[in-house]
Amino acid sequence: MTDLLRRLMRTPQGAIGLILLAVLAAVCLFGPWLAPHDPEKMDFLGRFRPLGAQNWFGADQFGRDVLSRLLVGARSTLPMALAATLLGTVAGAVVGTASAYLGGRWDEAIMRTIDAVMAVPGLLLALLLVSTLGNGAGNAMIAIAVTFAPGMARVTRAVALTVRGQDYVKSATVRGESASWIIFREMLPNVMAPVVIEATIRVSFAVMLFATLSFLGLGAQPPASEWGLMVAEARQYVHQAPWILIAPSLAIAMTAIAFNLLGDGLRDAMNPRDER
């Protein structure tokens, strides 16, 4: 583990990604204490106040401090995106591994069904699900997890197929282990590496999807300062006060870049190539 971390820090992507993530994690943990203002405090005179000493990142249409909203909003943005990814990844990994293990017709049936679910574009599926479950961050999270799961299942299955061919799985089969033991104890731990890489990159998709759902009015509930919601609300004022759009957009971009960098770094760190 520490070895991996060291290798990760040695790749430029991994190092920058980790540093950015550390900053984000700090914001998630300490955001409310770092925030200079109450994120929900409205100030009639401060509407659209530009960047300056009073509001470092300016103020929004309610005169709320954008920086404070960003700092506090990290909590409702990042953990949600992480949780959605995690949920989708775990579900997908289990289904993918099981499908690879079961093989034959079961595999065929599961994979074709997953193809079908994937044929419904993610955003639309999320949209339908949120419309069904009702608005709100929690439901958006579930919807995003559901849209992620099939893709993760596919990725996992591809890896799991090679793992399934490994002799240690065969030897478990030969000694008569149960399917659940083989799937969860023999195979899953060995497919996790590529799955984790895939997942880190998907976190940024999740952030984006949350933002889009919020844009469509289906994500977090106002006055939450979830970043996607902030961007969505700010869009109509883009000509008046571009900073209220740009500040949260940059925060989202930073998150996305951090996770992408981490994913790329992990990819390099986890399978060292024969460099010649």
Binding site: D115, M118, V120, P121, T132, H239, D274
Partner: protein, 315 residues
């Protein structure tokens, strides 16, 4: 590629479509707020609601509604939109046409940008060019699409006035106008995809460059250019075919927001409108048409792959 393989793929497309139909039908049944209420909005009276429900057959058992719908859909009749009263099938097909136009254009633009970028990054791995291309592609994926769309429109349409900000013009009515109007949405969509594909091209090229046969080619004394062009390029580009097919799916239904901002009534946006209006026939037909298209695109990608890569044989 044998005939039986093609038959099987066709059967699979049908199966996929069937699963999607069940899925979508199921979800639409679970949608809160029934269509009749939404349709009548704030003017709903009990009598009017009943009249509509009767007309739409919403009172029948669900399985019966499903079968009836599938039966009609099989003959190409998807019913009338609850929202507009127009036949849903033609409406969604028109929307699909617009989306496909956008998708194809976006994919072409994206490939033109992404492939050289990815190759360059791979060949110059770890060098400045690699970092720079990486950064560009990261930026593409790192903003929500409505931000990218807004910023691009602000820059290219509002400030520089190079392009029309929005609107859809049919290429059949006015080809030049259609191109100009498509430019911004296509650019936005392709910028989002560039990152994805450039990264893919980069890593595939790297993999290929590290493969034994490239090593063997070098050890045979082949000049570097021959190694790159004849041995590496083609093999590295193969997986891109598959990715492109996946992107078709994204471009059909995932760019609702781009379609909305640029006022392109493509299938994604039409579906979104249908979901908002609980226009069940439109949702069902749209989702079905969309996923069938996606399945077809994937099959085509597989065929293309087999044509390009002689190792792959489907039977």
């Amino acid at each position: 590629m044998s005939a039986s393989w093609l038959l099987r793929r066709l059967a699979l497309i049908l199966y996929t479509t069937f699963i999607v139909s069940v899925l979508v039908f199921g979800i639409t049944q679970a949608l809160p707020a029934d269509a009749a209420v939404t349709l009548l909005g704030e003017n709903a009276t009990a009598e009017a609601l009943n009249a509509i429900r009767e007309r739409l057959g919403l009172g029948d058992p669900i399985w019966w509604q499903y079968l009836r719908w599938v039966g009609h859909a099989a003959t190409g009749d998807f019913g009338l939109s609850m929202r507009t009263g127009q036949p849903v099938g033609p409406e969604m097909l028109t929307a699909l046409g617009r989306s496909l136009l956008l998708a194809v254009a976006a994919i072409l633009v994206m490939l033109v940008i992404a492939v050289p970028l990815g190759m360059l990054a791979a060949v110059r791995q770890g060098k400045l060019a690699d970092m720079a291309t990486g950064l560009i592609s990261y930026l593409g994926v790192s903003f929500p699409e409505f931000v990218t769309a807004t910023l691009l429109a602000m820059l290219l349409a509002d400030t520089l006035q190079w392009l029309p900000a929005t609107g859809y013009v049919s290429p059949l009515e006015d080809f030049g106008g259609a191109l100009r109007h498509l430019a911004l949405p296509v650019l936005t969509a392709s910028l989002i995809l560039v990152a994805h594909v450039a990264r893919m091209v980069r890593s595939e090229t790297l993999d290929v460059l590290h493969s034994d046969y490239i090593r063997a080619a070098r050890l045979k004394g082949l000049p570097e250019r021959t190694v790159l062009v004849r041995h590496a390029l083609r093999n590295a580009l193969l997986p891109v075919v598959t990715i492109v097919a996946l992107d078709v799916g994204y471009l059909l239904g995932g760019i609702i927001v781009i379609e909305e901002i640029f006022a392109i009534p493509g299938i994604g946006r039409q579906l979104m409108v249908a979901v908002t209006a609980r226009d069940l026939p439109s949702i069902q037909a749209g989702a079905l048409i969309m996923s069938a298209t996606y399945a077809v695109a994937n099959t085509l990608a597989d065929v293309a792959y087999a044509v390009l890569d002689k190792r792959i044989r489907y039977d």
